[in-house]
């Protein structure tokens, strides 16, 4: 679960806090769990609710503080991670979530459809589209450009 948040929220401490919050929510809602839904689907559905609440708060904070702390750059991130984060951030939000759930959480198409409440065929077509788009982004010269930009950013920090 920590990995789920760590890949979606750049700040490690924040990811840990969200992990704790998810487990608390899971424990509280355990009596409502119904076996037909797989446990993983249930867990990630809670995770997404926690993440959505966090993002809403972040947008709200940014509105009033005037700063954009939506996705703060992680200082301890590796170059490869920065490149991937950057490439993934350029994908459409739903496509990105489908791709991450498949690649890192190893959810089946049906489970992803359950968690994101999408038709199975939509999951399949969007997953293919996301993979192909990511491949192009990683293969194109943008990669070098991104690496240079991220190195400059780190120097400035």
């Amino acid at each position: 679960m920590f990995g789920f948040f760590r890949r979606r929220v750049a700040d490690r401490a924040q990811a840990e806090e969200l992990t704790q919050e998810t487990f608390l929510a899971l424990l509280r809602s355990a009596p409502h769990y119904r076996p037909p839904a797989t446990f993983r689907t249930y867990l990630y559905a809670i995770g997404f609710n926690v993440l959505r609440a966090y993002r809403r708060k972040a947008v709200f904070r940014a509105m009033f503080s005037g700063t954009n702390d939506r996705e703060p750059a992680a200082r301890d991130s590796l170059d490869g991670e920065i490149v991937l984060r950057d490439a993934l951030s350029r994908l459409e939000r739903v496509d990105r979530e489908i791709l991450l759930l498949r690649e890192f959480e190893q959810l089946s198409y049906a489970e992803i459809a359950d968690v994101l409440r999408l038709p199975l065929n939509t999951v399949r077509s969007r997953l293919f589209r996301a993979r192909m788009a990511l491949r192009e982004m990683l293969a194109s010269p943008v990669r070098e450009k991104t690496l240079t930009v991220s190195a400059e950013q780190e120097e400035r920090v």
């Binding site: 487990f23 490869g80 089946s108 399949r124 993979r131």
Partner: protein, 182 residues
């Protein structure tokens, strides 16, 4: 990347790699991919993406989070076990038994107390000639509180019983009762 670019759907090739096809479909697509260079290229591209993503490792979560979660689970377990003790069927049976026992005792007490009550009611509703003689007039009896009335009738009964034993006339005791009732 549409279906027309490949002999079979590229999405089917992806589903094959993800293990999302039925056994029959997997055999068909797999056999095709072995012969089709375009589909083999799709396989290579998809594997490349997965490989690139697999390099993104996330470090282990800190011990504090683990400990926090374990602590919460422990708390929940202890709370649930307490609830189980409090509302276990065995306890409910014991409580139910006690309530039933108390009810039986109450009914028994009511049944045993019944003859006295009836007697008292009889003496109030149907006074003897002696009582009628010394009883207060009806207008005044309205002022007597029910409790006092029942005491008076009980006293009358006990006095009568005493008189029958001691061979004393009830007329000597009756005025006392009437006075008390007023």
């Amino acid at each position: 990347m549409t279906k027309t670019e490949y002999c079979v759907s590229a999405e089917d090739v992806m589903a094959l790699l993800d293990g999302e096809l039925s056994a029959a479909d997997a055999r068909t697509i797999s056999a095709h991919v072995e012969e089709c260079s375009e589909c083999a290229l799709v396989v290579e591209q998809l594997r490349g993406v997965s490989q690139a993503l697999s390099t993104w490792n996330v470090p282990e979560v800190s011990m504090a989070v683990d400990e926090f979660v374990e602590e919460q689970v422990e708390k929940l377990h202890s709370r649930r076990s307490m609830m189980r003790v409090r509302f276990s069927p065995r306890n409910l049976f014991a409580v139910g038994g006690s309530v039933a026992g108390a009810l039986v005792m109450f009914l028994l007490a009511a049944v045993l107390a019944r003859p006295h009550g009836q007697l008292a009611r009889m003496s109030v509703t149907a006074p003897t000639t002696e009582e009628r003689q010394y009883a207060p007039p009806p207008a005044r009896s309205d002022h007597i509180v029910p409790e006092a009335a029942s005491h008076a009738s009980l006293d009358a009964v006990s006095m009568r019983a005493l008189a029958s034993f001691e061979d004393r006339s009830p007329t000597t005791t009756a005025p006392m009762i009437a006075r008390r009732c007023r």
